[in-house]
């Protein structure tokens, strides 16, 4: 058998922090053959990104490869001289980074980044190139990632391009020197689902056309199905299972892989959960709500939105970034004032200091103050409703029980908790002053799928126990399919479709809804078949253009 393009053998990596050494990769071995597409999947802390960094040679200073080998084209890169290894960058392999905004220096033009990368790669090859020659080559690469107006792109600063365009430029950057292996670290994860779909299509197209190999690092099993021939599953620094994509997704042999697959909310098929419709009267009524930011030529964020939230239901407000869903939530919370329209909450006044609505934010890592213990975090809302110390303590015990955390956690700081535990604390904080309505702003977007599953289960139980009404804001339609009883889709400040969730998914009427559902990466072929279809003409009409 021919030598594979990339061979990682018995790779062991340790990290040292505060004098303690931790092993983050244990005997990791896998191969990527020329032209093959391999996905490296795993949850946070599984070691998938560390593996990629070890291959590229950008491990942080406290990381060390203790044993093992990484061979590209049969040559071990770990024993190479520094200069020789540098020369491989961009030519033997290239990296596509995750976040297209932070991957560019904001005070330099896009063209400057591209030109510098090309200039120094040329110099390593011993070539001297003129600026005009480099510009022509860069323009050619940009056209390959479907950016037609290359002049404008190169003269733009990173903040002047859309997320999708920046991601395309990042891919272009990786292609500048015809690498044989493309390493992609969660590309498109920071983008909207429809944009992500286009980016994945582009990567697939390029890999096939240029006969490159692809090592895709992702936590999203739907993405895996779309872009990989073979899958390597990682867990806590070990490789759990390796196999062809269809086998892993349909017939996993390891327990861990199965649990990972089980935690992915299904979009269609028998595993889908339908929530009962609420027969209660509306608790929140919104009529022709408008929000315009800025005075003259203001930004019209919400346009004539009319909604009714029934008591006890889980209402989903779906849409991509900039669709106005968060603006609607903020107005319901009373955090911002509508420009026009009516907003009424139908519930008795809860009394001093208490609010009817509370919110759980997307990222508990930033919504909890890192300098305050769980107890201090929970004290604030309880104090504001005038509880004395003894009653506060009792209530805190109750709250921790509600969110299934042990009492000892009251003394912990956020950095001592996992992502899921932090989100539980955030939920406890939101529930502290007994609200009637909970706004969930992408409550699980920052969490792994297995953790997402437990948090969602907790939210379901809490709604049952406390008789809450939820308004969930999200762009994750597969999650909303299983968690919301009714759903509304927002596009550019307007609601384009609304109805009971099963009906909306069974027969989406608006082309934008269909495009949105069709773009979701799903795990099984059966789900893929059941997705609605969109014509190219409809796609053009409703989706944000990421080309130019």
């Amino acid at each position: 058998m021919a030598e594979p393009l990339l061979r990682v053998e018995n790779l062991n990596v340790t990290f040292t922090a505060y004098g303690r050494t931790r092993q983050v990769l244990r005997d990791v071995s896998f191969t990527v053959a020329a032209g093959e597409r391999v996905a490296l999947i795993g949850e946070t802390g599984s070691g998938k990104s560390v593996t990629a960094k070890a291959i590229i040679g950008t491990l942080p200073k406290n990381g060390r490869i203790t044993s093992g080998s990484i061979a590209i084209g049969g040559r071990d890169v770990l024993t190479m001289a520094r200069g020789e290894r540098e020369a491989l960058k961009g030519t033997a392999f290239s990296l596509i980074m995750q976040d297209p905004l932070s991957s560019f220096n904001p005070v330099f033009k896009i063209g400057t980044h591209l030109d510098d990368v090309m200039r120094f790669a040329d110099r390593r090859d011993g070539k001297v190139s003129s600026k005009a020659d480099r510009n022509a080559r860069i323009a050619a690469v940009l056209r390959r990632v479907q950016l037609a107006d290359t002049e404008r792109v190169m003269n733009a600063y990173p903040s002047e391009l859309s997320g999708g365009m920046r991601q395309r430029v990042l891919i272009g950057l990786a292609l500048l020197h015809q690498p044989r292996l493309l390493i992609a670290d969660e590309p498109g994860t920071a983008l909207d689902v429809t944009t992500q779909d286009e980016i994945l299509n582009l990567i697939n197209h390029l890999v096939a056309e240029e006969d490159m190999a692809l090592l895709m690092i992702t936590h999203n099993l739907g993405v895996v199905r779309k872009v990989a021939d073979r899958v390597v599953v990682m867990h806590h620094g070990d490789i759990v299972e390796t196999g062809p994509c269809t086998d892993i997704l349909h017939r996993p042999s390891e327990e861990y892989t199965r649990s990972l697959l089980d935690a992915v909310p299904p979009l269609y098929g028998p595993r889908v959960t339908d929530l009962p419709q609420s027969g209660e009267p509306p608790i929140v009524r919104i009529e022709r709500l408008n929000k315009i930011y800025g005075r003259r030529n203001g930004y019209h964020a919400v346009r004539d939105v009319t909604l009714a939230l029934k008591a006890g239901e889980i209402f989903g407000l779906a849409g991509e970034s900039g669709s106005g869903k968060t603006s609607v939530a903020r107005m319901i919370m009373g955090l911002s004032r509508p420009t026009s329209g009516k907003l009424a909450i139908d519930a008795p006044d809860p009394g001093r200091g208490k609010r009817l609505t509370q919110i759980v934010y997307q990222n508990p890592g930033t919504s909890l103050n890192p300098k305050r213990t769980v107890k201090q975090t929970l004290t604030l809302p309880l104090k504001s409703i005038g509880m004395d110390a003894a009653r506060r303590d009792a209530r805190m015990r109750e709250l921790l029980e509600l969110v299934r955390l042990p009492q000892s956690y009251l003394a912990k700081y956020p950095h001592e908790l996992s992502g899921g535990q932090k989100q539980r604390v955030a939920i406890a904080r939101a529930l502290a002053a007994e609200p009637k309505i909970l706004i969930l702003d992408e409550p699980t977007a920052a969490l792994d799928v297995s953790v997402q599953k437990t948090v969602i289960e907790l939210l379901m139980q809490l709604r049952e126990e406390l008789g809450l009404t939820y308004l969930m804001i999200s762009h994750d339609l597969s999650l909303m399919r299983n968690f919301c009883s009714r759903i509304a889709i927002m596009l550019r400040g307007e609601i384009v479709e609304e109805g009971p969730t099963p009906e909306v998914f069974a027969g989406p009427r608006h082309p934008y809804t269909r495009a949105l559902i069709a773009a979701i990466p799903v795990v099984t072929d059966e789900e893929e078949r059941l997705k609605p279809t969109v014509t190219d003409e409809e796609r053009m009409r409703f989706l944000v253009k990421t080309t130019d």
Partner: protein, 342 residues
């Protein structure tokens, strides 16, 4: 939404005018409500009450404050800032003579700050938590905590002992017979006239006071540059360039330095206020004869027109300096040139 650059500049100039009006009202009122009769102080204890009353009438001090203010502004707009009671000359003439000395001192201090603070900041960031970084930290703290007059006196002593012949007071050797040039900045005038001996001599005189004046700022700006560099080093875009093999020195001196110069520049603008304040002390120590020394005399003798003029000129200098800093920052950072649509 792109904001037209002209609109941006006009908006800035608008605020500029407002600040100047507010400042002038404040100093005008303050100077007149503090105790002590300026006319009596100008004429001395020997003058009769009739003489004092006559001077008060002549100065318009019997008028209501608002009338006095409008009168002052009206004249000021025509370039007349009144007579100095002490020097018995127009205030504008006094300022023309003294202001360039101070401006030259402050500007050279600023150049010192940048020449020292930015490289030291970059180096200490690069050698973070190693010996060089610790030395840099100690030096910065020393610069910030020790008052500038102490530096000034220490430098004078050291120079007098270690560098015989090095000038420790004044702006220039009078033996050179320099008649004065068009700008009043000795170094610039010397260079323009081709008198390099004058420029060099003025620079020697400037070195000690400018260094003493810039110490505090050097300490601050070094720290800001260092922390800004360290913060930006961790960003993804650095990793991107590294993973495509762009050399470390290019990443540091080109990409990181430009991004990390925004914070020190902002601080620099604010630093002008303490530079002007400290100049009052430094000028006394080095017998500098700038407008800070002039202002000090004016305050002690309650020379109303001179005090008002000195404060206004100092304010003008501060505002113009910050205007320049704002423009520089918006040239560096394209995000500031775009008005956010939200």
């Amino acid at each position: 939404m792109q904001q037209h650059p002209l609109v941006a500049i006009l908006t800035r100039l608008g605020t500029f005018v407002l600040v100047m009006i507010a400042l002038s009202v404040m100093i005008f009122v303050l100077a007149r409500v503090v105790p002590g009769d300026p006319a009596r102080m100008a004429l001395g204890p020997a003058a009769t009450q009739e003489q004092v009353d006559a001077l008060r009438l002549q100065m318009g001090l019997d008028q209501p404050l608002a009338v006095q203010y409008l009168d002052y502004v009206g004249k000021a707009l025509h370039g007349d800032l009144g007579m100095s009671l002490v020097s018995q000359r127009p205030v504008t003439a006094d300022l023309k003579q003294t202001a360039p000395a101070t401006v030259e001192l402050v500007l050279v201090s600023v150049i010192f700050m940048f020449l020292v603070a930015i490289p030291v900041g970059v180096i200490t960031a690069h050698y973070r938590d190693r010996a060089l970084d610790h030395i840099g930290r100690i030096l910065s703290l020393t610069g910030v905590t020790i008052p500038s007059f102490l530096f000034a006196i220490t430098l004078q002593l050291l120079a007098a002992r270690g560098l015989p012949g090095w000038p420790i007071i004044g702006r220039i050797d009078h033996s050179l017979g320099w008649p004065g040039g068009p700008t009043g900045f000795l170094i610039l005038d010397g260079l323009l006239a081709g008198r390099f001996d004058v420029a060099l001599n003025a620079l020697q005189h400037l070195a000690l006071p400018a260094f003493a004046l810039s110490m505090a700022g050097i300490g601050q700006i070094t720290r800001i540059t260092r922390s800004s560099m360290i913060e930006n080093q961790r960003k993804d875009h650095v990793l991107t360039l590294q993973s495509f093999g762009v050399p470390e020195r290019v990443i540091i001196f080109r990409y990181l330095l430009k991004l990390s110069s925004i914070a020190p520049l902002t601080i620099m603008g604010l630093e002008f206020a303490s530079l002007i304040g400290n100049a009052f002390v430094i000028e006394m120590v080095f017998a500098w004869g700038g407008f800070a020394s002039y202002g000090l005399q004016a305050i002690l003798q309650k020379d109303l027109n001179a005090v008002t003029a000195v404060v206004l000129v100092a304010g003008l200098f501060f505002i113009v300096a910050n205007l320049i800093v704002d423009v520089l920052i918006s040239i560096i950072d394209p995000r500031l040139r775009r008005k956010e649509a939200r």
